[in-house]
């Protein structure tokens, strides 16, 4: 009950504060007010800005921004509209103020700039701050607060306090509190100062840290410059709190990067885990099957240029089929003559990989092709101001786990999977039981290749698509499979993720190249210790 009353009070109070600003103005009235800006006199413009500020909506905010940037013009000839303008190659591209439709490109001389002086600029900045602080989108409000972090002055402070009293969104409140604390950290009132220091200690904004650091500066003898013990202790506490949080966040970020690298490795290696691990075929053309998947994505996007959003959904099955068919062709054409001679499959498939690379070069040119990223995959997910995670990596982690789960299901729960395992464990016996081993071989290889193709779709979102892209992954993929233990899918998962994370953990202090070298050396040494990988196969199947 009490909560409801509080809520009602807040709403009522909010309405009281904002009501005067919310003068409803339809587009025609708005245009009339706007036209006042054409006047030469700065005083008149000032009053127009005040009127617009009272309208206080999206339209006004946009006008203010353009005006401040000097991009607001009006046409010299009829209909003398006020327009937004953007510089393009041959003149200025102009847009309607209301609605934002393009009005074409005109020469500079057809327009007259709406000039502003310093007084107006100050007015505009305050108006923008005020309007965006009261914007309906909480993200815009928070960004507005952040924008004034750098100088929370006498004008901004009351705006912040005013907004804080009505703000309900938690993250905006936090930002505002930091903003207020930033202005109060040099306050003469000790209690206010202590409180500000305390508030800043909870924030991860970079301004908070840089405002605190001057308080804990030492002189040459190692003594703190700040005399006041109490404030010094509070500042030290706040700084160490921030540092601890930053460190924690940077570890989280490293872990995230590591997992995303790991899932890339997993995607690249998991097809190989089938062809190499289950069938014992060293498929050096695996990287090129990934490449085929990536090029398939490229072609799919070429064929549906207006539906890039859905292109990946189409590309995944297409790439699976294309790469899978190529894989089956490779198996039927070359590999089936070489079973039981793993080192020779290595040579033959390496030949295939050279041919496929050259084929890509001939068809698509040696240059890299760019594959577009759909909008839903770009952007970042902000956890706090020190930690932002990109969506594409997130999707790839999820995607790789899905592929892994699907593959595991196929191998464990379908009759194809049963046949695959039977043939890989004892070919002769499986044949004696009536399994057509040739067909199973072809399908298994097709499955492994198809998954390589799917990996190609995912990788096309991270790296360049070119004839050499397969080469970049082949060695890593082999390392992952061997490290995890040949013939063991779970081993591949663990190996991929741990190698990914280790690589990213080493990177900050060793550099990317040295980290990679260290990982390679680690694998070489690890294989000495456990020649059959992390999770070796046991029993009879392990003998071959």
């Amino acid at each position: 009950m009490k909560n409801i009353i509080t809520l009602m009070l807040v709403v009522l109070f909010g309405w009281l504060v904002t009501a005067p600003m919310m003068v409803q103005a339809d587009d025609r009235e708005f245009s009339v007010i706007l036209d006042g800006l054409k006047k030469k006199s700065f005083t008149e413009k000032f009053s127009v800005i005040e009127k617009l500020e009272e309208v206080g909506d999206e339209r006004a905010l946009k006008v203010f921004n353009y005006m401040l940037e000097g991009d607001l013009f009006y046409e010299k000839l009829a209909p003398n509209r006020i327009v937004f303008a953007e510089k393009v190659e041959d003149g200025l591209a102009i847009f309607e103020v209301l609605g934002g439709q393009s009005l074409g490109v005109v020469s500079k001389r057809a327009l007259k700039k709406i000039k502003v002086n310093n007084k107006l600029r100050g007015k505009l900045r305050r108006a923008i701050a005020k309007l965006s602080l009261n914007h309906k989108d909480p993200d815009v409000r928070r960004d507005a607060v952040r924008a004034i972090f750098k100088n929370v002055d006498a004008i901004a402070l009351p705006l912040l306090t005013e907004r804080l009293s009505v703000e309900t969104e938690e993250k905006v409140r936090d930002a505002i509190e930091v903003g207020i604390a930033l202005s109060e950290i040099e306050s003469d009132d000790k209690q206010v100062r202590l409180k500000a220091i305390n508030v800043l200690g909870d924030s991860l904004e970079s301004e908070a840290r840089s405002a605190l650091l001057p308080l804990v500066v030492k002189d040459e003898t190692g003594k703190y410059l700040l005399q006041d013990r109490e404030i010094l202790t509070a500042a030290l506490k706040s700084v160490s709190r921030i540092n601890a949080k930053l460190e924690y966040n940077s570890w989280a970020e490293t872990l995230y990067f590591g997992l995303s690298l790991g899932s890339v490795l997993l995607l690249a290696a998991i097809g190989l885990a089938i062809t190499f691990g289950v069938m014992g075929v060293i498929n050096m053309a695996h990287g090129e099957l990934i490449m085929i998947g990536a090029y398939t994505t490229y072609v799919v996007q070429l064929m549906m240029p207006n539906h890039i959003e859905y292109s990946l959904l189409v590309a995944v099955p297409t790439a699976f089929i294309v790469a899978g068919l190529v894989g089956i062709a490779i198996e039927r054409g070359v590999i089936r003559f070489l079973y039981g001679r793993p080192l020779e499959t290595l040579l033959a498939t390496f030949g295939i990989s050279l041919i496929l690379q050259q084929l890509a070069r001939t068809i698509f040119s040696p240059l890299n092709r760019s594959v577009e990223t759909p909008a839903w995959m770009s952007g970042t997910f902000e956890i706090n101001s020190a930690l932002a995670l990109t969506y594409n990596r997130f999707y790839i982690i999820i995607f790789s786990l899905l592929v892994f789960a699907a593959l595991l299901l196929i191998l464990k729960k379908t009759s194809l999977g049963l046949h695959v395992r039977a043939v890989s464990q004892n070919r002769t016996m499986a044949r004696a039981m009536g399994i057509r081993s040739g067909r199973v071989d072809a399908l298994t290889f097709g499955l492994g290749s198809g998954i390589a193709g799917i990996a190609g779709v995912a990788l096309s979102q991270l790296t360049n698509v070119g004839p050499n892209m397969g080469q970049a992954y082949i060695i890593d993929s082999f390392m992952v499979v061997v490290f995890g233990g040949v013939g063991n899918l779970w081993g591949t998962l663990v190996a991929a993720m741990s190698l990914g994370v280790v690589n990213k953990v080493l990177e900050p202090w060793a550099g990317a190249v040295l980290a990679k070298i260290l990982v390679l050396i680690f694998i070489i040494l690890f294989i000495q210790k456990k020649p059959r990988g992390l999770f070796p196969q046991r029993g009879r199947a392990a003998e071959h």
């Binding site: 190499f276 014992g280 060293i282 050096m284 070359v334 003559f337 070489l338 039981g340 001679r341 793993p342 080192l343 020779e344 499959t345 290595l346 040579l347 033959a348 390496f350 030949g351 295939i352 990989s353 050279l354 041919i355 690379q357 050259q358 070069r361 001939t362 080469q471 060695i475 082999f478 390392m479 061997v482 040949v486 190249v513 040295l514 990679k516 070298i517 390679l520 050396i521 694998i523 070489i524 040494l525 294989i527 000495q528 210790k529 020649p531 059959r532």
Partner: protein, 379 residues
Amino acid sequence: MENRSFIMNLLANDIAARWFLSALLTLGIVVPFCNLMVPQDSWFHVSTYTVTLLGKYLSYALLAIALDLVWGYCGILSLGHAAFFALGGYAMGMYLMRQIGDRGVYGNPELPDFMVFLNWSELPWYWTGFDMFWFAMLMALLVPGLLAYLFGWLAFRSRVTGVYLSIITQALTFALLLAFFRNEMGFGGNNGLTDFKEILGFNLQSDGTRAGLFISTVLFLGLGYLVSRYIVSSKMGRVVVAIRDAEDRTRFVGYKVESFKLWIWVFSAMLAGIAGALYTPQVGIINPGEFSPLNSIELVVWVAVGGRGTLIGAVIGAVVVNFAKTFFTAAAPEIWLFFLGALFIFVTIFMPYGIMGVIKNLTQRKSQRVHKAPADEAA
């Protein structure tokens, strides 16, 4: 004593060896002669470019022999043998770098140009001694040898075999590739070592030096062949072949498989180092690209094409494939990879014993047909 009688024996009993050695001898005499003595406009003149090219092929041939020793005879498929070759090449390259002296772009008498460029004030410790030829050559042997010893000691003792061994040799050369790309390593980074001026006081650009290098390559190839031949026909060689065919059985019979493997592995790595040291002055550059896994795999193909398990086959394979490469990359670059790829597939499926296998087949067909299907040899 033993050695001479071995050679006599070889020449008397092995037709292929006789042919090969005489061909090598002829090449070593005729090519430099036709280059230096025959006037340029004569039809018989061999250009310096050709001499250098042939020298390059022959140093590759020596490398192929090195790989054939471990792969063809011992069944260890190394996908990183080019690493030992490149290390030998770098040792020679470091000597040649020091010989430049103050004739570099920056004119620093002590430091090679790339170190001056990186603002280094003194030579790193591992560059000391490389101004002496004998030391550099010793290193061209020792560095690949030691690396191979360390690597082999670890790998063979833990019984890492087959595919696993192949993959970790690939990891080794890949790690070295990445390491040598780093500027901080002090080996010239991306650009490698180049701009050599002279070797042992002889100008590297002159025809005479080129011919001299060619002759030494021929000599070392002949010597490398003889020693390898001696090893494979010795008792040790027989044990090595036994290890290839049935490792466990050999172990149960009582041989110490690990040490046999280790010694042939280390010897092979040193041979590859010599090949690298011969390669660098003739080509005039050594860079990290030599470490690339692709090079090692191409090397395996030379041996496969020529016929593994036959030393002469390795030589023939190296020369034939590289000749084809030179020809195709000049005539039709886009065809080269198609051709090379098709060659890989064709040879592994249809010519498991390579060119030598085909020759053997043809000569034996007269008396009787003894062509067994290629058995599970490489596994």
